[in-house]
Symmetry: C2
Subunit: 459 residues, 2 copies
């Protein structure tokens, strides 16, 4: 036990009913969207920055670990208390504090759900682009701490591109503002991005100022069917080289297609197309009405030249219905096998086709299903190995091979989900000793006692 009686007493005084201790209450906080489990000793629900400061002061003096938690949708165990101690849920710090339309800024607490913010902004005609598939139920704080991406990354970038400034409670309890909330400002070293993607290891984020954009006037979505698996990937490159920038380009490979075929069939009139389809690509254009019309026209010409069939939608509900198919992939993958290893690797765009071929070869040789899909517009693939009990070793070796391939291509082993606990062994494959040494020194600078999210992110 990391938390002893005097610490618990101080915490109870501080949090009262907003502290959970009973086994059945705390168990849910030992799990996230990875398949890992680590039991917390106590879970607290701060409502103010001051309470977060105070709990970090207590953690320092009583020497117990502190793990931040948004909605626990992490796929890597990054929100789990690996060595016990305290989980800090930000569920009650979920206020949208301020929208400043003339600055196109929002100031929010970390527990606000991405989807709630998106909805709230509509009445201001404003738009927060980052859209992890989990947006309806993941928090802005969790999105910032992981550096979440999503389909719109192709045109709009990821969370890091929208965080203007943060307030962070540091180990020991001091509150740090990472920079001014004006649109520019180069006085301090720019610490904001250091916390974006830091997975709760450098400080607890207690307030976030986000940059916003005007809500696009118009959207148009294409669902493209290709009889050759790699042709959808080539389509992305060709589209970009023509100077078009879709908001999203989301890919589904042959193996993934199997698990969503039925849902797709509901949408296409005839199943003729699907019979010969090897991959899908969702391509969305958004922006001013005139721009979308022009760009989608140009895109249709490319589709025609390449002889690709497609569905298109331009009403909000039809667009969302087609996107639902994409968002439904993860939960359906179990159809291919009861066990899963998932990675979200990135390769340079020009290596995508070669990477896909490599995965196909691995799949054929091993008999283990390899389902790849996701944000191919950024070169970011969710690669899922699906297999049966007893095939763990083989799956692990396939995983390691594919991660090595990614690094041969100068790619990255994680585009957005982060390292958490589950990918820690592979960090040394991507980073060189100097990079790791600096990460460790930075961790020690911000969290000298190593109390924040221990065993996460760093190798």
């Amino acid at each position: 036990m990391k938390l002893r009686e005097p610490a618990l007493k101080a915490l109870k005084d501080l949090f009262g009913e907003r502290l959970l201790l009973a086994e059945e209450d705390i168990l849910p906080y030992g799990a996230d969207a990875s398949s890992l489990f680590f039991k917390p000793e106590v879970v607290v629900f701060p409502e103010t920055k001051a309470e977060v400061s105070e709990l970090l002061r207590l953690a320092e003096s009583f020497n117990f670990p502190v793990v931040a938690r948004g909605s626990g949708t992490s796929t890597t165990g990054s929100s789990l208390p690996v060595e016990g101690g305290m989980v800090v849920s930000f569920a009650k710090m979920n206020r949208i504090l301020e929208i400043v339309p003339e600055e196109r800024l929002a100031r929010v607490e970390p527990g606000v759900l991405n989807g709630d913010l998106k909805n709230y902004l509509k009445k201001f005609g404003l738009f927060y682009p980052p859209d992890p598939a989990s947006y309806a139920f993941s928090t802005i704080g969790g999105n910032v701490a992981t550096g979440a991406g999503g389909p719109r990354g192709l045109k709009y970038g990821t969370t890091k591109d929208y965080v203007l400034s943060l307030e962070v409670a540091l180990s020991g309890g001091k509150l740090l503002k990472t920079g001014p909330t004006t649109l520019k400002g180069v006085v301090p070293y720019n610490l904001t991005p250091l916390f974006v993607g830091s997975e709760g290891t450098l400080g607890l984020i207690v307030e976030i100022v986000l940059k916003l954009l005007p809500l696009p006037e118009k959207r148009k979505l294409y669902l493209v069917f290709s009889p050759v698996e790699s042709k959808t990937l080539e389509l992305i490159t060709e589209t970009l080289l023509k100077g078009l920038t879709p908001a999203s380009a989301e890919f589904v490979d042959r193996t993934t297609l199997k698990v969503i075929k039925e849902k797709v069939e509901e949408k296409v009139r005839t199943d003729q197309i699907l019979k010969t389809t090897e991959s899908l690509l969702w391509v969305e254009f958004d922006g001013r009405i005139e721009e979308v019309k022009r760009d989608s026209g140009a895109f249709e010409i490319i589709l025609e030249q390449k002889g690709l069939s497609f569905l298109s939608a331009d009403k909000e509900e039809d667009i969302e219905a087609l996107w639902e198919i994409r968002r439904g992939i993860s939960p359906s993958l179990f159809k291919l096998g009861p066990k899963k290893i998932a990675d979200d690797v990135v390769v340079p765009r020009r290596k995508m086709v070669e990477f896909l071929r490599y995965l196909r070869k691995l799949e054929e040789e091993s008999g283990i299903s390899i389902a790849s899909f996701g944000h191919a517009g950024d070169g970011n693939f969710h690669v899922n190995l699906l297999f049966k009990e007893g095939e763990e070793e083989r799956a692990k070796s396939i995983r390691e091979n594919l991660l090595k391939k990614v690094l041969e291509f100068f790619g990255s082993i994680s585009g957005e989900h982060g390292i958490g606990f589950s990918k820690r062994p592979y960090v040394v494959w991507e980073l060189d000793p100097l990079q790791i040494e600096l990460m460790k020194k930075l961790k020690a600078l911000f969290d000298p006692k190593g109390l924040l999210n221990p065993h996460v992110k760093l190798p």
Copy 2:
């Protein structure tokens, strides 16, 4: 002298003719676009990363200071060797190494001129947006090290938004890659932005990977004339609230107008408008043809409703001719007084009008000219005090008052030029003790002996 004979000998062996020692050769490297002067002891011109590494290794063992220099257009003395030692000019590391159209990326050496890169990219249909007024003669390395902005910041952001990854030679000579060169990647802590705006104090940047955009198809520029000084500022806010996002919105106040009136007169048919003009605003729209047409149409309606006169241009050469007036401001300011104190402060957009009124009051009370102009779309003003010999003390006190006002508005004392040597005393006004403590710890982590750009940036 910081550089003694054994160190000089080793440097001569390394650089041969690419080392300057003679008084007349090194003098130019003691000055930049500030009015400061600090004489270097030696100036070297590395051609490779390995040479930069090696000189940093020598600096560590012989304990001499090293100051990076791009084109020396810094307005704050940030490229000057305050305590002597070595200036490292990146003038010979000026190769564009690679353009990857399908990834929309460029890999460059730090000495490439911003304007040269812009021109080179045209044939690929690509575009590097950051456009400091010095773009024709400042380097990408200098732009990165200062975090340079420019008129296009309103729509496109600043340098930090385009730096994907860096290679940095650290104090002692080790080479650090700050992250992968894929479009996404969250494995390491994100160190790239820490170096952007670090003014040469954390490492020497030896290679830069930049994100690019497709070249806008069409541009349209307005030069707006307002008989009420603050109305141009209100126009920005109104335009943004209508959901329009101009590429640029550049402001000129009543005092600045005096020095460019003649140049403006050449452009307007009748001087009737100018007689009653108190401020100017350049507003540019760019993007797809259809989008620019639509947005400029909507903008003209706003202009009409507000009863504002304007000129417009949509041919490249006419657009550039109007921009030349804006870019010509700095060199013309001396007409208002032989002595100058310049700041580039930022206030929240919604405080711009109040800030301008405050400056007018200061000007009236003091009799010292206060010329404000610049990137008002971002709330970023170049405030210039122009005065006569003997008025130094009064000007200094005005400057301090206006910086305090900026901070009362939760603004920043520098939006893009940085701190350098000249603004160091004011850093403690903006940053709190915790922010400063962390900056100092970071400096010590990356440059424990304090050899890189000493007396710059940190208070």
